[in-house]
Amino acid sequence: MIKKAVLALTLLVAFAFDAYGAELFVPDHHSTIQEALDQAAPGDTVTVKPGSYSENIVIKRPVTLRSANGPASTAINAAKKDEPVISINDATGVSIEGLSATGSEVAGIRLTRSSGVSLKGNQTTENLYGIALYDSSDNKIESNTADLNENYGIYLEKSHRNTVVKNSASSNGDRGIFISASDSNTVIGNTANLNTWNGIVLWSAKGNIIRGNKTLRNTYGLVLTESSGNTVDENTSLPNVFIILPILLIYLGILLYLVQKYALKFLYRS
């Protein structure tokens, strides 16, 4: 009886560990992130400790890659500039959290033919594209910072039903968020300010929801080209305060003039 109970308990513990997956640490267990990812089984988590890593990472299995302390202290720089910093190819269920990916002449994070991927709280700056999706559907891109890239902050091409929420795609050399030939995506609560050309662009895109985004001080805030059936509402290109403040200041200017005039008149008279 006791033997059976011990066996059942062992199986239960083994099952529980298997369900949650193992956690591999870089650089404690593995010297490089790619090495840890190659060793990881599906469902495992690779945790990257603070530091600067020079690599081009390729992920093909459903693993979680995350930083221990967030993107400010965990940076991955492109070892080969002509490849993305992080590539996710033909994969499902991959999760990347809190990493910084910089210095690629291709992209910070690139998804190709992947689905069910979650990108959360990453920082992809100073690449050609910040985050790029090609033929990738049903992914979630949330709370990432894709600023200061040479071309686009977030780029979707032939990628459908993705959720792009609360990201920052500002100060990019061309466009903030570019949705090209992609349908039924949800783009909510993003910030695409100060981009050289457009804030958010839909090109040949159908059935997307573009809601509650901020597109301030771009050449054009929100641009739809050859697109139809999209829901575009509650986006802001010029907040009320941008109009109210100058009017208020001009009123104050008129008031100042009157005060100065009557003050000087009073002084001269007395």
Binding site: K214, N240, V241, G253, Y257, K265, Y268
Partner: protein, 127 residues
């Protein structure tokens, strides 16, 4: 209404927008006194215009320096700042010169300066 007020208050957390706002207020006052001066010479209007003019140039110079400190030497912003400064200097030259034909453009140049201040306020509003 409360949201707008909170937005307005939160904007003034930045020194550049505070200076730009003061600049626009003084520039507006300067513009009105300048228009009055064009109509008829007045000692009071002259004093207001001169004081406000010097104050706006000083604030403009501080904002120019702050821009270089914050963003470094970038070509287009520097060209923009210097263009604004050249309009100020041209206006001063016309005012102090004796060419009466040029004086009829002074009001337009004053309006230009107010527009420049509006743009300065616009670009300094924090996002």
């Amino acid at each position: 209404m409360q949201e707008v007020l909170l937005d307005l208050i939160s904007i003034f957390s930045n020194i550049s927008i505070v200076l730009a706002s003061i600049g626009l207020i003084i520039a507006t006052s300067s513009f009105i006194s300048g228009l009055q001066l064009v109509k008829a010479a007045s000692r009071i209007e002259g004093r207001i215009h001169k004081f406000n003019g010097i104050a706006t140039i000083a604030i403009y110079a501080v904002l120019f320096i702050l821009s270089i400190v914050d963003h470094g030497f970038r070509l287009w912003p520097i060209i923009g700042w210097l263009s604004g400064l050249s309009i100020v200097l041209l206006k001063l030259k016309i005012v102090r010169g004796r060419k009466k034909r040029a004086r009829k453009y002074i009001s337009w140049m004053g309006a230009c300066l107010v527009l420049i201040w509006l743009y300065i306020v616009y670009i300094h509003i924090p996002l």
